[in-house]
Symmetry: C2
Subunit: 323 residues, 2 copies
Amino acid sequence: MKNFLALSQEFKSFLESQTWIEEPKGLYEPIEYILKIGGKRVRPSLCLASAQMFSGNSEIALNQALAVEVFHNFTLMHDDIMDDAPLRRGQTTVHEKWDANTGILSGDAMMILSYQILPRKAEVHALELLNTFSQTAIDVCRGQQMDIDFESEVEVSLDQYLEMIRLKTAVLLSGSLDLGAIVAEADLSDRKLIRDFGEKLGLVFQIQDDILDAYGDAELFGKKEGGDIDANKKTILFALALQHSNESQKKELLELYSSPAGTAGKIERVLEIYNSLHLRHKAEQMMQEYHQKALQDLQGILVNAEAKAPLFELAVLLMERTV
Amino acid sequence: MKNFLALSQEFKSFLESQTWIEEPKGLYEPIEYILKIGGKRVRPSLCLASAQMFSGNSEIALNQALAVEVFHNFTLMHDDIMDDAPLRRGQTTVHEKWDANTGILSGDAMMILSYQILPRKAEVHALELLNTFSQTAIDVCRGQQMDIDFESEVEVSLDQYLEMIRLKTAVLLSGSLDLGAIVAEADLSDRKLIRDFGEKLGLVFQIQDDILDAYGDAELFGKKEGGDIDANKKTILFALALQHSNESQKKELLELYSSPAGTAGKIERVLEIYNSLHLRHKAEQMMQEYHQKALQDLQGILVNAEAKAPLFELAVLLMERTV
């Protein structure tokens, strides 16, 4: 049984063996560029881990893992245009290096490529792969739209926030695991459990992200501490604050969250409100609960314990991450 | 056997029966908007005509026809952003009515929806549908990139031009016909013939478009006569001109084609060069040749003549169009 690191290495080697450039080059060069920027390759590794768990063989899902990674990078390429982000993992974004039109069209081509790669060496499962992949992909778009909608909404409930991160982040982890399960011919009840595991893991991941942005070591995390607060970004902490604050705290928070980025003292004051409501602890508790539920889902899957080890390992690593 | 008009009516009714709006509404409203703007629905009608020809039943391909139309409208939504076009069929474009980010994200969602619709009621053919659809889709992107590349190229050869319109326009007609053939379980040699027919028909269509832009009745065609010339757009006439002109004509043409839109006398002078080289006639001859070859492909398909009638009818209508 390969551990999670070995699986991610296996994927990285497969990714490096691919050639992307075809004619016309202008379409394919940005695709090669973004795929070579790097990243932890968590989603494709999940796909391989799932296939390995259900069949003992991760290799059978390499193409589906690649489809997931190409799709994920398509979303990054288009998201960066929408956010007008200058950098992605420390490198110039595609729309900055080329232009917005290039980012749109090469992104479109990446999405199509991901569908083209999807059934490879698993042709007999084409229909199930296609259905899972499309449902996952449309959910990611729905999550992105909710996130955009949140920018112009004053208040966001905890349920709305959780639904947004479920769609924007969690379903892609869940879908990656399911694709691996499909090619490994897992039965339907196990496929449901592995999807549920992935979804909860995704929620843990995003809640963790929100906590680290407010409380993480800024140097380690590579961005400004409190960056989300400064940008009025709706996070789990913001949603929890609205739920737990009294009238005057809520009024002050909403005022702070309507001031522009860079407003003096804003981050500090919002954090004071969060602290007085013990929100870091509350958010960490939620994270713990989702984590426990995720582990229960994994435990419920009908394969031997050894086969589950790499995914347990990942779940534990995820809880311990500081960046 | 339903004629082409009846098939397009059948598709329009099916399209009208669909509901598009889900949550979050901001994602789906632009999709419903562009799908209701209208259009001739040529591509989905081709899909139905092909299914009818091979199986006697157009209805079996309604979902695949819908997938094609949704995909086509996704390309329009993104192309309009790239061209910064204010109007589409007389209506405000999505990125103008909403904004560019909305056009990007709702366009992405449309592409995914087209893949989601694709296997419906033809699940057993999912793999073939997926392969044809993805190859078609990536070719359309390649054609769009070539078209963009042409903007910054001084000269464009006839072969380059033909390859661009083959990818950008013709393969989608060809792919639409093939999807209908797949669900109707046509054999591989007939599928190749119907694809070839579609590709040649697509070339006829685009060459016709270029001729009409330069020589068509401006009022009927709904845009300015010579609009392509004014915008320095590389057309079949421009590519033919480079091939047939002498040194001094070529020099003058390239100079005219480097002057900005609106330059006085430009359209008239380019048309004089085209006329002195008899390019309208040469382009019409090419069109006729592709048209003849398309009809031969159709004739070669092993079904009875009556079954082919609607596609013959369309091919003839296409040659006679003035708008």
